[in-house]
């Protein structure tokens, strides 16, 4: 691989042992996939900080890099971790597990990362600009940042993220290069009556991910009114059922004003038309139980935005959730503090909603809780629920989630 003087200096160890090892790993990865050189990246997003997902090895890796003097070279945001940093005790978390998380947090913060603790960093203040070269991990965030924002990242995993952050470099391969960002399959959903609801886009994303596998799909027939939260739900779903790292939506995403711009020869690309039946099958495949069996509602995968929290507060309208039903929303600190100045957080809590920051239902310690069947409007939650938590799942829209909660048994909490 051809290295610049700067990169040779990192490799010689002049910038510390951690940066040297990080660059060695990036070079090795780049060479495996035929990269001839590295490129500078100007932001990184770390997924490897989820202790619940990566276990002891991930903690050892982070602590080792920090002990060796690792320091991020570019602004680096952090994914959700495995505990609500302020409220983990209240959230019935095992103390030993929480302590491991605390070590993980310390390691990454010690290397200079920004404590965003969110899986939806693209909706926050650190979001990249169009065309910016970045190194992002977290499958839903990779898809969103490539597709909706038009920044450029490969589908990076744990550890590559930190190595890129410590060196400010990534291999010049894959989606960092413009010609590799063209559509490889066309998915036509013009016949679908999509509603302006995140669950509709989650179902669609889940289906497109299955059809596209590891190809870049161009999706036609998406209405202009599609929102950031709906595209977030779509991104999370497409990256659960497929190995998709980016998509185009014609007339919606910035690199895709029309089919000719994202393809040299659109008439020669495999095209699949999504029928209503395929769509309904996809929705059905996300549930493993019936709505009556739900004893918890889960919202916020990826992390709920301010708009989503406000919508839930509106729909609840001060009504109380009975004590036999758990209603949890996962969000991040940025959203939470934005709304703290209003009565929205207060009102949600008074209604019996548990608002959890920093973390994720799939990657935390749930030993203090015995809910058996969760209802959610997130396809990503639905996809991973059984395997990661052993719980059954019912996929539903937000209105159904709220009605199910309000109609459950028991006294109001307060």
């Amino acid at each position: 691989m051809k290295l610049t003087q700067d990169e040779q200096e990192i490799l010689s160890g002049k910038r510390g042992e951690a940066a040297k090892i990080a660059l060695e790993i990036i070079i090795e990865l780049g060479e495996l996939y035929g990269a001839a050189e590295l490129i500078p990246v100007s932001k990184a997003h770390i997924d490897g900080c989820l202790y619940g997902a990566v276990g002891e090895a991930g903690l050892e890796f982070a602590e080792k890099m920090r002990q060796m003097g690792g320091r991020v070279a570019v602004p680096t945001t952090l994914n959700a971790n495995s505990r609500d940093i302020n409220c983990w005790v209240n959230h019935r978390m095992n103390a030993e597990f929480a302590e491991k998380n605390a070590r993980m947090e310390k390691a990454y913060l010690g290397m200079g990362a920004i404590p965003t603790w969110t899986c939806a960093p693209y909706q926050g203040v650190c979001a990249p600009r169009f065309g910016e070269q970045v190194a992002w991990a977290e499958s839903n965030a990779i898809v969103y940042v490539n597709s909706v924002i038009g920044a450029r990242t490969e589908r990076y995993g744990d550890y590559t993220d930190l190595c890129c952050a410590l060196t400010g470099r990534a291999p010049k391969f894959g989606l960092h290069i413009k010609k590799n960002r063209l559509a490889q399959i066309i998915i036509n959903c013009e016949g679908l009556p999509l509603k302006s609801s995140t669950d509709d886009f989650a179902v669609l994303g889940y289906l497109v991910g299955k059809l596209a596998k590891d190809k870049i799909p161009a999706i036609t027939g998406i209405p202009q009114w599609v929102t950031s939260d709906q595209l977030k739900a779509f991104s999370a779903a497409i990256a659960s059922s497929g190995a998709v790292a980016m998509f185009h939506m014609i007339g919606i995403t910035p690199e895709a004003p029309d089919l000719n711009t994202i393809s040299d020869d659109p008439s020669n690309i495999e095209t699949i038309e999504i029928t209503k039946e395929m769509y309904l099958d996809s929705r059905k495949s996300l549930s493993s139980a019936t709505p009556e069996s739900a004893d918890a509602i889960l919202i916020g995968c990826p992390h709920a935005s301010a708009a989503e929290l406000m919508e839930i507060a509106d729909l609840l309208n001060g009504r109380f959730i009975p004590e036999e039903m758990e209603f949890w929303i996962y969000t991040n600190r940025e959203v939470y503090s934005l709304l703290e100045s209003t009565l929205i957080i207060d009102n949600l809590i008074k209604s019996g909603v548990r608002i959890i920051r920093d973390t994720c239902f799939l990657n935390t310690d749930l030993s203090g809780w015995n809910m058996k069947t969760v209802m959610t409007n997130s396809a990503k939650y639905a996809h991973y629920m059984k395997a990661l938590t052993g719980r059954e799942v019912v996929f539903a829209n937000l209105g159904e989630c709220i009605n199910t909660a309000l109609q459950s048994k028991g006294q109001p909490r307060i």
Partner: protein, 137 residues
């Protein structure tokens, strides 16, 4: 008579073992548990298989970028497969193997083979792997 398959060695190494073959995209995160060492994705065609000591083939990756993390922890605990065979090997997978080598001196060979050769793979076959060469015994 033994069959020889020539693939592309992504991460080199020699090993041997019994094959487990899936015909669906696979994610180690949400697909494999480093607590139990087995496949936990109920939708998978190799659900409940234990991977330790085996050679694991699946056509391509999918899902979470935590696959690298899960794989590294499985290697550290000694419950990972001995080698991985794909049609398309994802970067997310490769990095788990690269970091395992750097941190723990552990080798997990990863080989990609053609779609046609992949059809020759059957669960239960015994394979001997030497970099890009796969011997089907």
């Amino acid at each position: 008579m033994k069959t020889i398959i020539k693939g592309k060695s992504l991460v080199g190494g020699s090993t041997e073992g019994t094959l487990i073959v899936s015909h669906e995209p696979f994610s180690f995160f949400g697909g494999f548990s480093f607590k139990t060492g087995s496949i936990v994705d109920t939708r998978s065609d190799v659900y409940q298989e234990v991977l330790k000591g085996k050679i694991f083939a699946f056509p391509c990756g999918k899902g979470s970028s935590s696959t690298a993390g899960v794989l590294l922890e499985a290697l550290r605990k000694g419950i990972a497969p001995r080698a991985i065979i794909n049609i398309n090997s994802e970067k997310i997978l490769a990095i788990g193997s690269i970091v395992a080598e750097k941190m723990y001196g552990l080798n997990l060979p990863i080989i990609s083979i053609s779609e046609d050769d992949y059809q020759l793979l059957k669960t239960g076959l015994f394979l001997r792997i030497n970099n890009e060469i796969i011997e089907v015994m």
